[in-house]
C-alpha cells in the first residue's frame, strides 16, 4: 500500500489518542488534539517538517539513537563500571556516565540527616550538616578523577590484549566540574593543632572506607564536593559530599564522607596497605603513591572501529596529569619512530583532561598510532619498557605508559601495544 505524505495529525494517531482521552474530556479544542498528536504520534519515519514536534518536558532525554552506556562487566558482583570514553566529546563526562568504583555498594543517604564530623587534633571538634557546609564560601573546579588501577590490563607482557576499547581499557577516568567548599576553609574553622600532619577521611558506605591523606594536600587544593556538572553530586560519586583531591588516585577521594580525623600519623587502613600500594622490584612496595602521573589515550580511531577508506582522518584523544597542566601531546603514526605535536584544544586546565587532535593522511598501509603526554613538570608519559625497567613487570596500579593502536591495511583497529614489545 502506497503511503501518502503524513498529514499534520494522522488518522491513526487521531484514533489512538482520541479513543482514550475524549472520554476523559481532555480534548476540548483542535490545539489540544495537536498537542496530544505531537506527544504520541511522532515516529522516525515521518517527515519532521510535516508533524508538530514533541513539546517541552521537565527532564530532558538523549536522542533515542544516542545511548552511551557505562561498561559493567559482571552485573551480579560488580564494584566498578567504566566511562564510554570513545563516545564522548570535549572533556566533561556526563554525570550519569562517570565511572564507578566502590567497595560495598552505593549507600542510600538522606541529605538532611547526613553529618560530617571533624575531630582529632583540632581546637574545636565540629559536626556539619549539609546546609552548614553549603553556607561556606563556594568554589567550582574542572578536575579529572581516575582510579589508580586504570589501564592495568595492558601491562603484562604475556597478556597484552588486542580487542579492548578505550572504555574497557581506560574507562576508570572521568572529568567533572566539581562544586563545593575548600577543605582548607573548614579546617581553618575547626583550627588545626600544632603537630598535626595527616587526616583520616572516612566514608558512610557499608565498608566505612577510609584513607589517610597528608595534611599538606588537605590544606592545598582539597575540596568537600557536593556538586557535579551543575547538579547535586550523584549517589555513585559520593552523594551528598565527597572528598576531592585533585590529581590524586580516586580511592583516596573518599565518597559519602562522614568523618575527618586530624592526626599526627597515617592510620594504615586496609586500602593504603594491602591495596593501592605498588609492588616494585626487589620485594619492595611503594606506599602512599597518590599522584596520577601524566597519561594520554587515543580515543579515535580505536577498537572496534574500522577505517572505511584511506585519506584524511583526525586522530583524537585525551591527555591529563595529576601534577598540573598538560603542555604537549605528541602523536606518532609510524609505530613510535617519529612524533609530531598534536593540537591541544582549550581550555587547558590543571589536573583536568585536555583534548588533543592530529590530522593524519592515512596511506592505507598497516601501521601503529601512539600518543604521549608531557606535563608542566617536564614529565614525559613513559613507554611500557621504561615502567618495566623502573618498577618491574609485576607491579600494579599507576600504569600510565603509552598506549598503541594497530591500523590494519583493511582499516581494522585493534589494541597494538603487544606488537611493539
Amino acid at each position: 500500500m502506497a503511503k501518502k505524505a503524513n498529514p499534520p495529525l494522522s488518522r491513526r494517531a487521531w484514533i489512538t489518542t482520541t479513543s482514550g482521552v475524549i472520554a476523559a474530556g481532555l480534548i476540548k479544542t483542535q490545539v489540544d488534539a495537536v498537542k496530544i498528536a505531537a506527544q504520541e504520534a511522532a515516529t522516525p519515519a515521518q517527515d519532521p517538517t510535516k508533524v508538530p514536534g514533541r513539546l517541552t518536558s521537565e527532564l530532558g532525554q538523549r536522542a533515542p539513537a544516542e545511548q552511551p552506556l557505562r561498561l559493567v562487566r559482571s552485573p551480579n558482583l560488580s564494584s566498578s563500571s567504566r566511562t564510554p570514553l570513545q563516545d564522548l566529546y570535549g572533556i566533561i563526562t556526563p554525570a550519569d556516565l562517570h565511572f564507578e568504583r566502590h567497595h560495598a555498594g552505593i549507600p542510600n543517604i538522606v541529605q538532611e540527616e547526613h553529618e560530617l564530623l571533624i575531630h582529632g587534633m583540632v581546637e574545636r571538634p565540629m559536626v556539619f550538616k549539609m546546609a552548614d557546609l553549603k553556607r561556606y564560601p563556594q568554589t567550582s573546579r574542572i578536575r579529572f578523577v581516575e582510579c589508580s588501577g586504570n589501564g592495568g590490563g595492558a601491562y603484562n607482557r604475556d597478556r597484552m590484549p588486542t580487542e579492548v576499547t578505550p572504555q574497557s581499557l581506560d574507562g576508570l577516568l572521568s572529568t567533572s566540574e566539581w562544586t563545593g567548599v575548600l577543605l582548607s576553609t573548614i579546617l581553618r574553622e575547626v583550627g588545626i593543632r600544632n603537630g598535626a600532619s595527616w587526616i583520616l577521611a572516612e566514608g558512610s558506605d557499608a565498608a566505612v572506607m577510609s584513607r589517610s591523606v597528608p595534611l599538606e594536600k588537605a590544606m592545598d587544593d582539597a575540596m568537600l564536593a557536593y556538586g557535579q556538572n551543575g547538579e547535586a553530586i550523584r549517589p555513585e560519586q559520593g552523594y551528598p559530599v565527597r572528598l576531592l583531591l585533585p590529581g590524586w588516585e580516586g580511592n583516596a577521594q573518599v565518597k559519602w564522607l562522614r568523618r575527618i580525623e586530624v592526626t599526627d600519623r597515617p592510620t594504615m587502613t586496609r586500602e593504603e596497605t594491602s591495596k593501592y600500594t605498588d609492588p616494585l622490584k626487589g620485594g619492595r612496595a611503594r606506599q602512599f603513591s597518590f599522584v596520577m602521573d601524566a597519561k594520554s589515550l587515543i580515543t579515535f580511531p580505536a577498537f572496534p572501529y574500522q577505517l572505511p577508506d584511506r585519506g584524511w582522518w583526525e586522530i583524537k584523544g585525551l591527555a591529563w596529569s595529576g601534577r598540573g597542566k598538560i603542555t604537549r601531546v605528541d602523536v606518532s603514526t609510524d609505530g613510535g619512530s617519529s612524533w609530531t605535536p598534536a593540537e591541544l584544544q582549550g581550555p587547558i586546565l590543571s589536573k583536568s583532561t585536555v583534548r588533543f587532535r592530529h590530522l593524519w593522511d592515512w596511506d592505507g598501509r598497516e601501521t601503529h598510532i601512539l600518543s604521549r603526554a608531557v606535563d608542566e613538570t617536564g614529565y614525559v608519559q613513559p613507554t611500557v619498557h621504561q615502567l618495566w625497567d623502573a618498577r618491574g613487570e609485576r607491579t600494579s596500579y599507576h600504569q600510565n605508559h603509552q598506549r598503541a593502536w594497530k591500523i590494519a591495511s583493511d582499516g581494522a583497529v585493534t589494541f597494538g601495544l603487544g606488537d611493539l614489545v
Binding site: 560495598a104 564530623l117 571533624i118 575531630h119 571538634p125 559536626v127 556539619f128 552548614d132 553556607r135 564560601p137 568554589t139 573546579r141 575548600l182 582548607s184 581553618r188 574553622e189 572516612e202 557499608a206 565498608a207 566505612v208 572506607m209 568523618r259 580525623e261 592526626t263 600519623r265 592510620t267 594504615m268 587502613t269 586496609r270 596497605t273 594491602s274 600500594t277 609492588p279 620485594g283 619492595r284 612496595a285 611503594r286 606506599q287 602512599f288 603513591s289 597518590f290 599522584v291 601534577r323 593540537e343 591541544l344 584544544q345 582549550g346 586546565l349 587532535r357 590530522l359 606535563d375 613538570t377 617536564g378 614529565y379 614525559v380 613513559p382 621504561q386 625497567d389 623502573a390 600494579s396
Partner: protein, 198 residues
C-alpha cells in the same frame, strides 16, 4: 550597509587565520584564578555545631598501627576458627587460599604476586585487620562482629599464616605486638614529576 560588509569581511579574515591550515580552536584560557578564601572572611564563620565527646566516641572507631583505638575484649585461635567457618569461609575458602575472593593466607616468595598480597607476606600491620574487619566484614552483614569475635577471627587468620601460636590470645595489647613479615617491604613514593621515570 557597505561599512557593515567590510567589517564582517575583516572579522572573517582575522578569525580564520591562514587559509591553508585546518581551522582549530586551540585557544588556551589564562591561568585559573586560585580561588582561596576571600580576604574579607571572618576568623570563623560559626556554621556547624560543636561535636561532643559522646558524639565523637560514637564514630571514632578506627584503629591506629600502635593499637590506639582498639577496644577491650579478646579472642583465641580456637574461637576464631568457629567464627571463620561460619562467617568467612564462603568467600575466602577453607584454608584462606581458595577464594573466590581475596586470598588471606600465604608466606610465599614475592614472585607469586599478585596472589602474594596475603596477610602473612604483605600486610604491614596486624592492627589493620581489626580496623578493617570490624567495620567492613562480613561482606553481606558488615559491622556485625563483636570485639571478641573480631579478635578471635584475627587470631585464627594470623595462626593460619604461621604468625601466632595455636594458643595465642589476641587483645588490645597482643595484636599490635604481632610481627608482620610485610612491614619492611614498604617504601615512600619517590615519584616527583620531571623527566625521570620512577
Amino acid at each position: 550597509m557597505k561599512r557593515l560588509s567590510v567589517l564582517m569581511v575583516s572579522v572573517l579574515f582575522t578569525g580564520c587565520g591562514q587559509a591553508d591550515l585546518p581551522v582549530t580552536t586551540s585557544d588556551v584560557l589564562p591561568t585559573e584564578v586560585a580561588d582561596r578564601l576571600p580576604l574579607s572572611s571572618p576568623r570563623t564563620f560559626g556554621f556547624g555545631g560543636e561535636a561532643t565527646d559522646e558524639r565523637i566516641a560514637m564514630w571514632d572507631i578506627d584503629v591506629k598501627p600502635d593499637g590506639e583505638g582498639l577496644p577491650s575484649g579478646s579472642g583465641t585461635v580456637a574461637q576464631g576458627k568457629l567464627v571463620y567457618e561460619t562467617q568467612c569461609i564462603a568467600c575466602h575458602g577453607a584454608t584462606g587460599t581458595e577464594g573466590p575472593f581475596d586470598r588471606l593466607v600465604g608466606t610465599g616468595p614475592w614472585e607469586e604476586w599478585p596472589s602474594a598480597r596475603v596477610v602473612g607476606a604483605y600486610w604491614p600491620y596486624a592492627t589493620t585487620l581489626f580496623d578493617y574487619i570490624v567495620k567492613a566484614m562480613p561482606q553481606l552483614t558488615p559491622g556485625t562482629l563483636t570485639a571478641d569475635q573480631t579478635y578471635a577471627v584475627i587470631a585464627y587468620v594470623l595462626n593460619m599464616n604461621g604468625l601466632v601460636a595455636d594458643d595465642a590470645v589476641m587483645d588490645a595489647t597482643t595484636l599490635p605486638a604481632v610481627e608482620m613479615p610485610g612491614r619492611d617491604r614498604f617504601v615512600p613514593d619517590d615519584r616527583k614529576g620531571g623527566p625521570e621515570v620512577r
